[in-house]
């Protein structure tokens, strides 16, 4: 009984054990890379199954009410697990030899960390999970030990630890104010006695999460790291740990700091606007595809951040009959939109980065130039048709061309923005997504309209499988969004007082 009581957490448990196991086995047997890959893949699938088994579970608390398993956490866990799974599948054709065990172990640890964050309702657990994920990804970012890797890792590390220091300081203030580390208590306290310290706390917390979400100006590390880290790790960072930032922010800011609604409403209005604009602008001139993708994901973070503004604007507003789902609340809709976009963006970005990984892994051999340089993508359609096609779809999806996951997410999110009176933000966002076409089309026209820059590329199995899975997911969500919308709505409900 006691054991089955923790059933909702078996997923994390499984992965933790698996991670440790992987390290041990790796140290015991040599060149077990393949096996490790399969092991972790299997583990992730199993965890996914476990999580999926109770997707829309009633919120249940564990470990002295520090861990809560609810629709929201499950949603994010699915996202994280899917991303990691895709990355692992792709990695199986890259990390086969020595050191693979560490790679997969770190990856699994990172995943566990994210999962913990996604379901922690206590700042301690949240911080621990956060750091677990961060630390393992610091290591991963440097994994190939190339110059670029290390520079990327270094920047990521310094910036990251500063950010987490800020976060920690913020947490300490929160604790001092509330005398408790439970989010609900903090919420109550902040409602009761609210002083300048809380504002500082809020901003410091925002810094901490903003660093993960890569919101301007806390984004500085992102372009360099995404460009420099091993491509598959970039995928994990952009698609996984970034989203971890969002879930943490949702929990802490929307639940614990609801008292400062007006403040973070202001803050995120600015952050969102600046982030999406600056991200898109900076992306226009990049020549490194991964850097382009990095900036694009910064811009996407800007879009997603609109959700906070929506909630701030429409918090607790009377439910109204927007959309076709009976009476619902704009703030709930906003979060749901954000979740959809998070899901979609996670998939699209993973796919895109896996694509770059494939290209880089082949190009780097013959050309000593930057393997991710856009010139290497010339004529990719001929050299690697499958990759090129998937990239094409991902690009259009990122640009929000229907019918893709990107379109649906933006649609719901912007709808909520318009509906809660933030028309200016919606318009800005739409103009931005028009601007974003500049660089997406640039990549596309390199892949499809330019002459081939080299011989045919051998598309390894792992990459291809991962790509195609992602592609199917992206299109599926775009064409049959119904179920996902409802799911997102349920997940969103968790964050809001019923």
């Amino acid at each position: 009984m006691e054991f089955s009581h923790y059933a909702p957490l078996w997923g994390e448990a499984l992965l933790t054990i698996l991670a440790v196991l992987v390290v041990l086995l790796g140290s015991l047997m040599k060149n077990s890379g393949k096996l490790m890959g399969y092991l972790s893949a299997a583990g992730l699938v199993a965890a996914l199954a476990l999580v999926a088994s109770n997707l829309t579970i009633k919120p249940t608390l564990f470990f002295f009410d520090t861990i809560s398993v609810d629709a929201l956490s499950q949603f994010f866990k699915v996202v994280f697990l899917v991303v990691s799974l895709l990355v692992v599948i792709a990695s199986m054709s890259k990390y086969t030899g020595k050191g693979a065990d560490e790679y997969f172990a770190l990856l699994l640890f990172a995943t566990v960390g994210m999962m913990v964050v996604s379901s922690s309702v206590d700042i301690i657990t949240l911080f621990v999970g956060f750091e677990l994920a961060s630390l393992s990804t610091y290591a991963l970012a440097a994994f190939d030990r190339s110059k670029k890797n290390l520079e990327a890792a270094m920047k990521y590390f310094i910036f990251g630890s500063v950010a987490s220091a800020f976060m920690l300081f913020g947490f300490s203030l929160l604790y001092g104010m509330a005398g408790s580390t439970h989010l609900v208590d903090i919420a109550a306290a902040s409602l009761a006695n609210f002083g300048p310290a809380t504002l500082v706390a809020l901003l410091f917390v925002i810094v901490g999460f903003g660093f993960k979400m890569a919101l301007v100006p806390f984004h500085m590390w992102a372009p360099d790291t995404y460009e420099g880290a091993p491509p598959l790790v970039s995928a994990l960072l952009a698609a996984g740990s970034k989203k971890m930032g969002f879930v943490a922010a949702f929990r802490v800011i929307l639940i614990a700091l609801v008292a400062l609604r007006m403040e973070w409403y202001m803050a995120f209005a600015i952050l969102a606007a600046v982030t999406m604009t600056l991200g898109n602008l900076a992306a226009c001139w990049q020549n490194n595809v991964r850097r382009i993708l990095a900036y694009s994901s910064i811009a996407q973070a800007g879009y997603i951040a609109i959700a906070f503004v929506v909630v701030g604007a429409a918090y607790g507003a009377a439910p109204v009959n927007v959309l076709n789902m009976g009476p619902i609340r704009a703030d709930q809709l906003g979060i749901a939109g954000a979740l959809l976009l998070i899901l979609g963006h996670a998939l699209m970005k993973t796919g895109a980065f896996i694509g770059t990984a494939l290209v880089a892994s082949n190009v780097s051999k013959e050309s000593e130039t930057d393997p991710d340089d856009i010139s290497n993508y010339a004529g990719l359609a001929k050299r690697a048709p499958i990759t090129a096609f998937c990239m094409l779809i991902f690009m259009f999806a990122l640009a929000g061309i229907p019918p893709t996951a990107g379109y649906i997410g933006k649609f719901v999110l912007f709808s909520s923005a318009i509906y809660s009176g933030l028309v200016w933000l919606a318009v800005l966002a739409i103009l931005n997504s028009a601007l974003s076409l500049v660089y997406y089309l640039r990549i596309i026209s390199y892949m499809y309209l330019k002459e081939a820059a080299g011989p045919k590329i051998k598309e390894q199995k792992g990459y291809v499988v991962a790509l195609i899975l992602t592609l199917l997911a992206v299109v599926w969500i775009g064409v049959f969004p119904e179920a996902f919308i409802n799911w997102a709505m349920q997940a969103a409900a968790v964050l809001l007082p019923q």
Binding site: V207, V216, F218, M220, M266, A282
Partner: protein, 687 residues
């Protein structure tokens, strides 16, 4: 029973067109015989119809087309005589063409286009509604374009074709505007149309003219007149007609003398009630006509290209016809009869002259009068047939032209007597010049000694035959047909439900003229005058004062004046150009320095004005300006915007210095900024 097959009159030439176009290449002489047969069948049919409906029936068939328009056949006296004339003349010309175009590689194309032209001209004539008329009108224009540009390898030909199309197009625009106006005016009346009736049908138009506001009527009339001016080469849209001589001579004969150019006149005649009802409608017509008659004649004097001389003469004669119609303001429907009579007579002798010219050019291989001379020695038949044509054109007594043209002058006098003398004076002068330039041409071609050595032979019979036949008509038609013709055409508008008195009141004709004679009275007067002229015709022998007493319309000297005009003109021409009696040399009378001569030689600088200034400077200049605007402004602001954004982006990305400490600084700065903004916002009470 012929009436049921009326549509074949158009259908057969169309068939011929298709056959020539697709299989003509394999047929002897490009399948010219097909075209001839088709047209000839048309002639037979028209004769049959004539026998059926003469003197007092009309044919009207109609079927719905699209929206609220219809296609239909309306054969009333006006249409019928035109049908007969066109089928007859064009048949002859096609026969002639079989000889003339023999051996030309493009013969098939020629006959295809000729057949299409025939079809559209006939369709234009018996259209029962204005839209259909306009459609065939445009097709006629197309054929003219194709035929003028027949020798498309010649740049001049291609250019002339384009010029013709565009110039007439200007007229067509006005025509179209007129139609649109008319349609909308009729539509606003909310007429209760019986089934089978459509707004643009002529009977419907006639019947409802009286209900349309006069000023609208005038606008419509001017629009239609514009079309007529374009098609009939009236001033100022006549510029294309002389250039149109780039086409084969048969084309010139068929299109630019006998038939197509008369379409404008036909249009005005067809819409005569409207012009009559429209205040100043007929005034405009007669003004244009009279002026053009004189204006073109002056240019005919100086041209050295035989075909151009004839072309200018055509323009001038069309002016006569217009003036005749315009005189309707004074003489009512009689004007239609007179004008159409001149039209038909003219088509005979002008076709004759052109074909003659063609046969000369065929032999001599030049258009230039200065290189001819003495041709008569070798081309007897051509010479005499053309003599008949010239006499007729000059209005020598008892020739067709004498009756037709002078009748026009007489009713112009009627008009003058009632309203304004100016047109009459213009026409008289024009008539003198006509006689002069005609015989200038005739003398300098046939008499004297060769001024260059050219092939000396007569043309084949297939070409001479038509000449002879036409010559017969050019001589006899007037004498034979005149009186019945007037009666028949006078009856034309009796078939429709319209009342000229009422229209005259709208048109204000009742008020014009010193003795306030209403239009009807003008009509009687004209009839009387016409009778009087009949007297004058034989009064030729028994001096004209007899006519003077009989015709209350005009005094005897007016009636006999035309005779002296003709004789005098011929005499003057002889004095200058007939070597036997040659007394003066034109170059002595007016040296090349003479500005007037220069002006005439240059054709009043129309080319410079129309093409050089208007088309190339104004229109093309506007286009270029638009182009600049488009590039610099309409597209420019876009490029400017994108440049701006991307330029800004260039600066934005420089923020990323790559040095981690700066990143941290940025982070902290961000926090500071947020603090400041939020606190400020709270101060201002924004949140």
């Amino acid at each position: 029973m012929y009436a049921d097959y009326a549509y074949l009159i158009v259908a057969l030439p169309v068939l011929a067109f298709l056959l020539c176009l697709f299989v003509g290449w394999h047929l002897p002489r490009g399948g010219g015989f097909l075209t001839v047969l088709a047209t000839f069948a048309g002639l037979i049919l028209s004769l049959g119809i004539f026998s059926e409906i003469y003197p007092d029936k009309i044919i009207h068939q109609s079927m719905p087309w699209f929206a609220n328009f219809n296609v239909g056949i309306l054969i009333d006296p006006l249409a019928l005589v035109m049908l007969l004339m066109v089928t007859f003349v064009v048949t002859l010309i096609h026969i002639y063409a079989n000889g003339y175009m023999n051996g030309d590689p493009g013969a098939a194309r020629y006959f295809a286009e000729a057949a299409l032209f025939t079809a559209s001209m006939l369709g234009l004539i018996f259209a029962d509604n204005l839209l259909q008329l306009f459609i065939f009108w445009e097709l006629v224009g197309l054929c003219s374009y194709l035929l003028i540009g027949f020798w498309y390898r010649k740049p001049s030909a291609a250019a002339a074709a384009k010029k013709a199309f565009l110039t007439t197009r200007v007229g067509d625009v006005l025509f179209l505007a007129g139609i649109i106006l008319l349609y909308n005016n009729l539509a606003n009346l909310n007429l209760a149309l019986k089934p089978g009736e459509y707004l643009l049908q002529f009977p419907v138009i006639y019947a409802n003219l009286a209900q349309i506001a006069p000023d609208q009527l005038t606008l419509i009339a001017l629009g239609l007149l514009g079309g007529a001016v374009g098609k009939s080469g009236q001033f100022p849209l006549h510029v294309w007609l002389p250039d149109a001589m780039e086409g084969p001579t048969t084309v010139s004969a068929m299109i630019h003398a006998a038939t197509m150019v008369t379409a404008g006149v036909y249009l005005v005649a067809r819409m005569f009630p409207l012009f009559y009802a429209a205040p100043y409608g007929l005034t405009a017509v007669i003004a244009v006509g009279a002026f053009t008659a004189l204006f073109a004649a002056t240019m005919g004097l100086t041209s050295f290209d035989i075909k151009r001389v004839l072309a200018f003469s055509t323009v001038s004669q069309l002016g006569f016809m217009m003036a005749g119609l315009g005189s309707g303001a004074a003489v009512g429907t009689l004007a239609v009869g007179v004008a159409i009579f001149h039209l038909i007579g003219h088509s005979f002798f002008k076709a004759l002259l052109f074909l003659g010219a063609g046969s000369i050019i065929h032999a001599v291989n030049t258009n230039d009068l200065r290189e001819m001379g003495g041709v008569g020695k070798y081309m007897k038949w051509t010479m005499y047939t053309m003599l008949i044509g010239s006499l007729s054109l000059a209005g020598f007594p008892y020739f067709t032209g004498f009756f037709s043209k002078d009748e026009v002058i007489l009713i112009a006098y009627e008009y003058g007597a009632l309203i304004n003398m100016l047109p009459y004076i213009f026409l008289v002068l024009a008539a003198v010049l006509t006689a002069i330039y005609t015989f200038r041409m005739w003398f300098s071609v046939f008499t004297g000694k060769e001024r260059s050595n050219y092939a000396k032979h007569e043309s084949p019979w297939i070409m001479l035959g038509p000449l002879v036949i036409l010559a017969v008509f050019a001589f006899g038609f007037g004498l034979a047909a005149q009186d019945d013709f007037y009666k028949y055409l006078d009856s034309n508008f009796e078939h429709y439900d319209l009342d000229f008195v009422e229209l005259g009141v709208i048109g204000g004709h009742a008020l014009e003229g010193e003795h306030g004679a209403p239009a009807v009275e003008g009509e009687q007067g004209a009839a009387a005058a016409e009778a009087g002229h009949g007297a004058a015709a034989e009064g030729e022998a028994s001096e004209g004062e007899a006519g003077g007493e009989e015709g209350p319309g005009e005094p005897w000297y007016i009636q006999i004046l035309p005779i002296f005009i003709a004789l005098g003109g011929i005499l003057i021409a002889g004095l200058f150009y007939w070597d036997r009696v040659k007394k003066f040399d034109p170059s002595q009378v007016t040296g090349d320095k003479d500005p007037i001569r220069k002006l005439l030689l240059k054709g009043y600088y129309q080319h410079e004005i129309m093409t050089g200034w208007f088309a190339e400077t104004v229109v093309y200049g506007t286009a270029l300006i638009c182009n600049t605007i488009d590039i610099k402004l309409v597209d420019g602001w876009l490029n400017w915007l994108s440049a701006l954004v991307l330029g800004f982006a260039q600066h934005v990305r420089k923020v990323q210095t790559g040095i981690v400490q700066n990143y941290v600084t940025a982070l902290v700065l961000g926090v500071v900024v947020l603090v400041v903004v939020i606190t400020l916002a709270k101060e201002v009470g924004l949140v």
